[in-house]
Amino acid sequence: MTEIVATNETILVVGGGISGMTAALEAAETGKQVILVEKRAYVGGRISQLYKYFPKLCFPTCGLEINQRRSKMNPNLTILTMAEVTDISGEAGAYTASIKISPRYVNENCTGCGDCAKAVELEVSDDFNYGMNTHKAAYLPHKMAHPQRYVLDPAIIGTDDAEKAKAACKYNAVDLDMQEENIELKAGAVVWATGWQPYDANKIQPYGYDRMANVITNVEFERMMDPTGPTGGKLLRPSDGKEAKDVAFIQCAGSRDKNHLLHCSRICCMASLKQSTYVTEAWGDDASSTIYYIDIRAIDRFEDFYKKVQADENVKFIKSKVASIVENKENGNPTLHGVDTEGYHRYATEHELVVLAVGMQPSVDKDAFPIDITINEEGFIEPSSENGGVFAAGSASDALDVNRAVQHATGAALRAVQVVNRVARAEG
């Protein structure tokens, strides 16, 4: 059984991505007791799946390492992975949260040696790479996963593979009898940092993501550049493994659209500008990136980055929302159809690979939120006095890039600290 001490002076942080980690660490480092609940088997969330950050083009692993080290060193912070909040009741200063912990089938003895993965035969979809490849059903989610502990996929429980994993483990870390746990925790304040998910590209019918292998999403493209990713860091297109040198980016794929997401997702312009540098980085002067856009939203200092990309002769900009994509059956190239806005020229242009700059869909379940909260039309949590001691952090509150999510999460931590300080004063 998971034993956790929690009181009305505890802060519960839901979601362990960059926002949740930031809020949890900032609060814990002021001396508050913090419990961080993360649905995945590791903390770090979507930033751990990025190759580089914009605008500095540095690696997210750097900041991730710092945050993981901070969390290891802080005795005030408890991290629960593979855990979800199913219910919250009470009011500011006195909440009770119900938490469901899914079995990992691997206990704290795990050293991360990987012998269980070698023994297991079944391969399952690799969610870390957005299902672009498979991995063993006993796996470490990614190289830097924290906690550095393997996971057994529930699919092998009760099969020979599970027994093989158990037999292979020299540290008695595989525990096949682990069960789902449901626990209750007290908390004075809640920081809700469940982040976002890429908008489902299958819903954008004219772009044929579901029909054409060479139409992928920006998050998948990001994984392709990672040396440990599905293509080993090479830009190879999915249909035939051919080098993708002529890449098109389609902006607002699902964002700013009454049929899809109402809001501007804010990150996708910079993400595509950044990804165009990957293409140039990979192929030099053989590279060709074409960005189809309505307007480029590179705000503040990002303008400099935009100008830098504009100066790259291998990157073209076409002011047009692509109307539809049709596959050239002979070579597998997607053909983009549309009319541009600078001269109204009709085009039908083939590219080797098409990247849909899909937007941010908030991971806030409007219909099944565990407690009464104000959620706006776009699905983000609105700041409201009616939310009591529940504070949104990062992209649960709005479409934010990493920089702004971290700032926002720090603010949310402060709000939560204020609530538990009031509790502390009242309790004397």
Binding site: P206, C252, I294, K321, V339, Y344
Partner: protein, 208 residues
Amino acid sequence: MTELNAAMVERYRSNFLKEVEANVEEGEWVKMCMQCGVCAGSCPLGNAWEHTPQKIFMMVRAGEREAVLNSDAMWMCTSCYNCIARCPRGLPITHIMHGLAHYAKRMGLAPKEQPTAKFAQLFWDNLVKKGRVNELKLGISLYFMNGFSEGIKTSLKMKDIGLGMLKTKRMSPMEMLGGHGVKDSAGFQKMLKKAQELEDKRISGSTD
């Protein structure tokens, strides 16, 4: 220039967008266009038009009154609704195009030799006589729309279909003699007259 057209030019001066917003059906949506161009690319007949919807909307905003109202674009719309389905801002593009066509017609600026505009007039003239469309007469007037010799050629080409329709009682030659209409013909004419009055009042009476 028709009298009404001259009055409208005088009233709105250089503000054609305002004129469209006040007088064209769904015209108030024009300013919502963000020029993404997805309508233009989605139009199945797009390459056959002089101007795409997105371009028409920009021209409205730029005050290109003559060019917009003389354009054949809105007459080429087949109402497939692809543009409405895909417009990220939810503009009722098909309806705006029809609204503009109607307004151009009212102003006497619709392109004279544009086939769909011509056929629309034939349809209207046919309909208002009896309150029902006389399909036989409408078909024949369509055949002869572009002159006598082309009419004869088309009629001969369609002969077998016509005979087949006669045989299966899908067409009555008696319709050529007057044809059937609505029961209350006088009432129907009165209704049309009233509608025309309201429409005239709406256009000439509307203020800025």
